[in-house]
Symmetry: C2
Subunit: 255 residues, 2 copies
Amino acid sequence: MPNPVAPGVYLIGAGPGAADLITVRGARVLAQADIVFYDALIDLSMLEWCAGTKLVPVGKRCGAHSSSQYFINKQLVDATSKHLVVVRLKGGDPLIFGRAQEEIDALEQAGVHYEIVPGITTALAASAQLKQPPTSRELSRTLTLTTLPGRCAHPDHKTAIYYMARDQLSEIAQVLLAEGYPASTPVCLMESVSLPTERSFACTLDELILGDVQHHFLDRQPVVVMIGEVYRKKLQTLNPLIQPQINFNVLQAAS
Amino acid sequence: MPNPVAPGVYLIGAGPGAADLITVRGARVLAQADIVFYDALIDLSMLEWCAGTKLVPVGKRCGAHSSSQYFINKQLVDATSKHLVVVRLKGGDPLIFGRAQEEIDALEQAGVHYEIVPGITTALAASAQLKQPPTSRELSRTLTLTTLPGRCAHPDHKTAIYYMARDQLSEIAQVLLAEGYPASTPVCLMESVSLPTERSFACTLDELILGDVQHHFLDRQPVVVMIGEVYRKKLQTLNPLIQPQINFNVLQAAS
């Protein structure tokens, strides 16, 4: 991409959270942006790339409602009449579960020049942080990314990574067990991927179904859920999501 | 990541090809690297980030053989005795179909400090270039990434993106049609994603099965194949992969 960047709208993926996990292209466009519309999932340290730029927070956590999406689309198009370089900064990759289609349609309809700058999607950032490839030649040669609690995994029991799934953990486990995934299938959960507050846990699929695990997570932080045989080693190295039950009978017998 | 970077080995994703689609973190580590082992899929413009660094080409196009993978592992570990910051630069994301597990195992066994810097994987870069999200709320809420010609798609006919698939196009189409994908399912193919030589084509699944399409592609260039209903509009806007058959009967009748 030439320097300076062409006038228009740029849909830029901010990456998972850490400011230096944006692409070089994304950072360069941000530095030249006249106005930046950023959504709630963006870590604010990311905005340091935008020196002297007008910053406009938009969107809502866990998906914007249609009305506000319509308003965002309108803001993007309207901004091009006052500003040369308009940025829409989205968490992760702009095209992965980011509702970009509506913005793209609005920009095309308005005849505005626009470009898309990809970003590191959360699943890949979480894999890098775990140091665990989601596929392997022996165990899984497919990776499914999804937001869908039902019927979202591969029939051959390959790796599945769920976005925005923290409120559906029990349902996901139920569906996968019903589809024939072994009860012992490893599950890794990671909160606030790549940020200083990042935490990760592991359990098995039958443990995931068991109980209320919401108390493990901080309010409003996104959680990515990785499920598959490739994660078996992590059951030993990560904190368990489910605390071992204290066996009171044994304690009483010992006292 | 602090500046300067800690001594150790860095597995860095170079992204799809364009030099500015590496992450800021990746570019910073490269600039401080003492030695960089890069593979054949890396566009050489990427190496401009490594001022004065020792550059060592390794690996082979379309996957290294076990023997050379063993040699790469050994080179990485051995390099840490002579160099502070050792980089293994891989195309796309280092953990997506990149055989990183063997390198990770070797580094862990040697007790070497190592980190993984994610990269833009080809599927997401291709989506950005196409300006087409691979999922949508209405048509597909799952995306499968795979290298496997057989049984790699989702039973509900969601979006599938195939890596390293240029020699298996007919087989992929056969399998998906047998699984019940409609013959009219749109297919997009993109060569040399994000490079100046990038080209893309579209066809339908039944056209993909028809014929020898290898002559469309340049030798040794990787091709990513995107299949799913979300790509229907691209059938109008991209070059057709299959040239329309000239109807000689019509021509004769007209002459």
